[in-house]
Amino acid sequence: MGSIVTKDRTWRRRLSDFIDTSSGRFIILHGPIYVILYLILLFPFLLEIFLSFSNWEPGRGEWWLAQFNYGLGFSMVFQDVRLWYSVGRTFLISGVAVCVEFVLGLIGAMVFSRAFFGKRILTSVFLIPMFFMPVVVAYNFWMMFQPQGPINFLVGRIIGKDIIIPWLSEGGPALAAIIVADIWQWTPFMFLIMTSGILALPENPISAAKVLGASEWQIFRYVKLPMLKNIIIIAFVIRFMEALKLFDTAFIMTGGGPGFMTETLSIYTYIVSISNGRLGYGSSVALVLLILILFIVTPAVRPILRRREV
């Protein structure tokens, strides 16, 4: 075949031949994504390692001339109480929010597994919060949580006496407010995924359990829940990872305040490196956090990948 083709080998022919080889296919199909991932993620990652060993602050000259800090940045990171508080706080917020979202979402999904009038429309309505821009959610809850806002007013009406809780200017209430905003926005995520999980359940084991006289609760606890296990794990992993990134909501609602009572790890890193301009130290913080999170992520994403291969 080669000898016949050689006669009209133009550059086009050669190109298409090259594309047909496995390395050609790789360049065409995976080249672009590698270029962008390396450009935006991997190269900056190397840069970050360099910067984290420097004392660079933008006001004090160019980054490549910054002083070497002999790893001092990292020893500062490990002694940085404010950072580790913010890490702990982020895990606390994520843990509480994701668990509440899961329970509410599961209850919703169970209710929606039955037939009723207006189910389709109500499903769409319940999903709306998920598509609110997080910044707008934050602004909206910021308004509602003002001391004279509707939440204090309505709670006051329900319990029968006026209350003025300064939600956003005290540590505990501010954390609660952030968690409430997160729950409002992301319960629909759990609801949606659990709904599709319940919908996909095979009917036979459930009707078999019914025939054997199992109660509704027993069917849920011993038949449905074990079959939903994989989907629950995937939902938890994805939601928890997204929750750990928490920035927009808390940043708009409290800006990390009062003091630094509501700083999440993203907000703290932002304040150190952007607001305070300590880019060298900010890099050390970011690098430590990145390694910490990769240690959590790499095993956690396996269920997602495994599921895909089936």
Binding site: D20, F26, L29, H30, I33, L37, L39, I40, L41, F43, P44, F45, L47, E48, L51, W63, I107, V111, R114, F116, S124, V125, F126, I128, P129, M130, F131, M133, P134, V135, V136, Y139, N140, M143, M144, P150, F153, W184, L192, I193, S196, E203, S207, A235, I238, M241, K245, F247, T269, Y270, I274, L279, A286, L294, V297, T298, V301, I304, L305, R308
Partner: protein
Amino acid sequence: MSAEEEVVVEKQGAVGWIVIIVGLVLTLFPIFWILSTSLKSMGEWVTYPPIFIPERAAVENYVSLFIGASQAGFIARVPVVTRAIIDSAICGVGGTALSLIIGLLAAFGISRHRMGGEFFPIFLLAARMAPPIVAIVPLIVLYSILGLVDTHIGLILAYACFTSPYSTWMMASFIDEVPRELEDSAQVDGLSAVESHFKVTLPLVKGGVAATALFLFILNWSEFILALCLSHVKILTIPVQVRAFVWYSGMLYGPQSALGVVAIIPLIIFSLLIQRYLVRGLTFGAIRK
């Protein structure tokens, strides 16, 4: 007798309806609040007891967003947000298009050729799971070297990078559903493998491409932290504009809420269009309805 005929979906009971109504109230109240605030005139913004339904619809809140100025007697100047909308649209559409193209190509590689082996899928997911803030500092340095700070191209590249895991996995899940045999027979007819991806499979996943595009646009349109750190003066996307609004003129409840409403309208419309594919998108194709 098939099993399907026996399936009787139970009717909703009273408890179920109570749950639905409580859920509905909790879901809708914040939405109602921002809508109602966006239509309140200045005197009604901060009162106690708070006003739930404005006396008249203060449309000037919306108008002032587009013509600016203090025509309604607002205490502070309302910034004109037309530019923010245009910038958001440019970066959102650009980022979506780029992410879609690279995601589609990579999806063919993963789905049809098992490219990337063990490492690539984890790398891709980890890229999405790590908080963007940890990449921000070096990204700022890189962007100032390349002159990309405060440019549309810069934001488009960053958006495309951070959404490419979603586009890759979502497209891969659509491509997986098209039988390989179609491509095989096209290759027997003389098409190369890559040609057969585009001439045979691509037309069959058109719906999936559209759903993925809308999904990516929703993500890009709401993106905050990248836009906040990589643009300063020349580019201003809507989320950054909302934040500037809140921080620098925190008292303008009406126009701010109006901006919030304007910002989420496209998101709600798009999400309704792709509701069928949402689970797939949100779980990186791990769960397909």
